[in-house]
């Protein structure tokens, strides 16, 4: 009996140490990634990098200013397209949805979420680039927008569902129509969750490269309007990373750091803003 107990005790300590090891390894890797990126990216980051255009191959210097602004433009377009549809779709599912049609919509949203981003790039290529006969920011923004929709739908729906039924019923009892209830009571009550979902959505899509490869292409110069190929941070980082030039590698790290910083800042701001609530 004692033997059995000490074996069980041993297993207890051992297995928990293993899980501790797992946690250490996982966290260790991830911290290492962060540290390496900050170290390499930081040392190559300079004011010139943020404000200059790319230099020709082999010429030192140059930066990614157009890629930073380009990513901003693409995300703006993607949000303009993806957020309204995603938000309103989420409203539909949460407020009007019962029965088989909403089920199908939810299933499709999950499916779309899991579709590899390269296929969405092909899709945008066939319906925007080919007919327009132009690689363009529009095509890239559309591809990113399509990727934003499923997440926006689900996070909006979930946020709206957390609003207590009482609030809705109270408004209806006071004579408000359903849409007024939604617009003036339910949505504002859920705004933290909705905004969190949207910001995280944008942050996630900001780092996508594959859908931009055959839609927005890339550009050495500034890209005015929406009709021209446009540079973006992820594509620039990719192009520079697979090159053999040391200078370009350094710039790739710096670009990666800028991208990561933007994504992290968005995440941190959003999480801090909801930190008052219970763990979610």
């Amino acid at each position: 009996m004692l033997r059995r107990n000490s074996w069980r005790k041993f297993v207890n300590y051992f297995m928990f140490s293993m899980t501790g090891l797992c946690a250490l390894v996982a966290v260790g890797f991830l911290f290492f990634i962060l540290a390496y990126l900050v170290w390499n990216g930081g040392s190559s980051l300079s004011w010139a990098f943020l404000t200059h255009l790319p230099a020709p191959v082999g010429e030192r210097g140059g930066g990614m200013a157009n890629a930073i602004v380009g990513s901003g433009k693409l995300l703006l377009l993607a949000s303009a397209f993806g957020i309204p549809i995603g938000f309103l779709g989420g409203v539909y599912l949460a407020e009007f949805g019962a029965g088989s049609f909403p089920f199908v919509v939810r299933y499709t949203a999950d499916l779309l979420n899991g579709v590899p981003s390269i296929l969405i790039g092909i899709f945008a290529y066939t319906i925007v680039v080919l007919p327009m006969k132009h690689f363009s920011a529009l095509a890239g923004g559309l591809a990113l927008g399509v990727m934003m929709i499923p997440i926006a739908v689900r996070s909006t729906e979930e946020a709206l569902r957390t609003v207590p039924l009482m609030l809705r019923e109270g408004a209806l009892a006071l004579g408000a129509s359903k849409w007024k209830t939604i617009a003036t009571v339910v949505v504002p009550a859920a705004r933290k969750g909705i905004v969190t979902g949207i910001v995280l959505d944008i942050a996630r899509v900001a780092g996508e490269t594959a859908p931009l490869l055959f839609t927005a292409l890339n550009n050495q110069f500034w890209s005015p309007g929406w009709n021209q190929p446009i540079a973006s941070l992820p594509v620039m980082v990719y192009t520079y990373a697979i090159s053999p030039y040391d200078d370009w590698h350094r710039q790739a790290w710096a670009g990666g750091l800028v991208l990561l910083t933007l994504v992290l800042v968005a995440n941190i701001v959003v999480r801090l803003s909801v930190s008052g609530r219970s763990a979610r």
């Binding site: 930073i68 006969k133 697979i242």
Partner: protein, 354 residues
Amino acid sequence: MKKLSNLAIILVSAALVLTSLVAFHSSPSNAAPVPTPDTVMLNGAGATFPYPIYSKWFSDYNKIHSDIQINYQSIGSGAGIRQLLSGTVDFGASDVPMNDEQLGQSKTKILHFPTVLGAVVPTYNIAGVSQELNFTGEVLTDIFLGKITKWNDPEIAKYNKGVNLPAQDIVVVHRSEGSGTSYVWTDFLSKVSTQWGSKVGRNTAVNWPVGLGGKGNEGVAGLVKQIPGALGYVELIYAVQNQIPYGRVRNAAGVFVKGDLAGVTAAAGGYAKTMPEDFRISITNAPGQAAYPIASFTYLLIPTKIEDANKKDIIKRFLTWMLNDGQEEVEALSYARLPKEVVARELKQISQIQ
């Protein structure tokens, strides 16, 4: 709530400051001014082979004419042809001339404008070996067929007496996408080996018997640089700029020649007067003592009918500039200049663009 709104205000102001600095700063070298409505933008895409010189040309041309921005993306010769045929770019670029089937797919006639000459060189990464190795066409074929697998194989050692070749595995590196550089390489191998010709053939993308795929000349050079024992083929400038050793190749006359300017110019020299009218020609395995056997012209592919009068005008002016001033810049980047006769004929061809 207050914490969040404060933070948000700080972030938004920082973003505004940053954006305005980016938009309005004026700095000497690489910052092109924000384009005005008069700026004309052209888009071209294609070969990675000439990417270094093209990016220099388009950048310099923009410095001279700040209202003209020519954006060139090196996505591979095959992609350049494809996108030109699809009409998504204004011009294409390819190391391999378009074949009749591809030309037939285009509604307007497409002109080939040779721009520079370059060499495709075998580049390698062998511990302890920094000398130039000698390769024959047969040896390269056998390596790329997977028949020769180690660096100290007698077939390689035969032509490299005095070099200490280790018993290391050869890691073959080729292109992962459709590439004109691949075309030039496989064209050469097909010419020197009937087995390669029948088994694999010549094309921008082939079914490689062995090896890893890198994306673009950049990707191949990168892989070669990182993997010990690697052997890949790249355009000369990529080997030079990255300080990776490259070898000599035996030409049709039996001489081991380096892929430098002299060898490439000699390869083209024999063909300058006999070039076909549309400039589509292969100059691999060229005759002559000094000729480098894996040389190639690279082309800009320009449609004859361009609807936008502005763009048409710019393309014609750029081509003229390229054939005169542009040629002065090529040798610094290890490309060879076009022969004089070819330049003269191209200047005449420009008038065909309507």
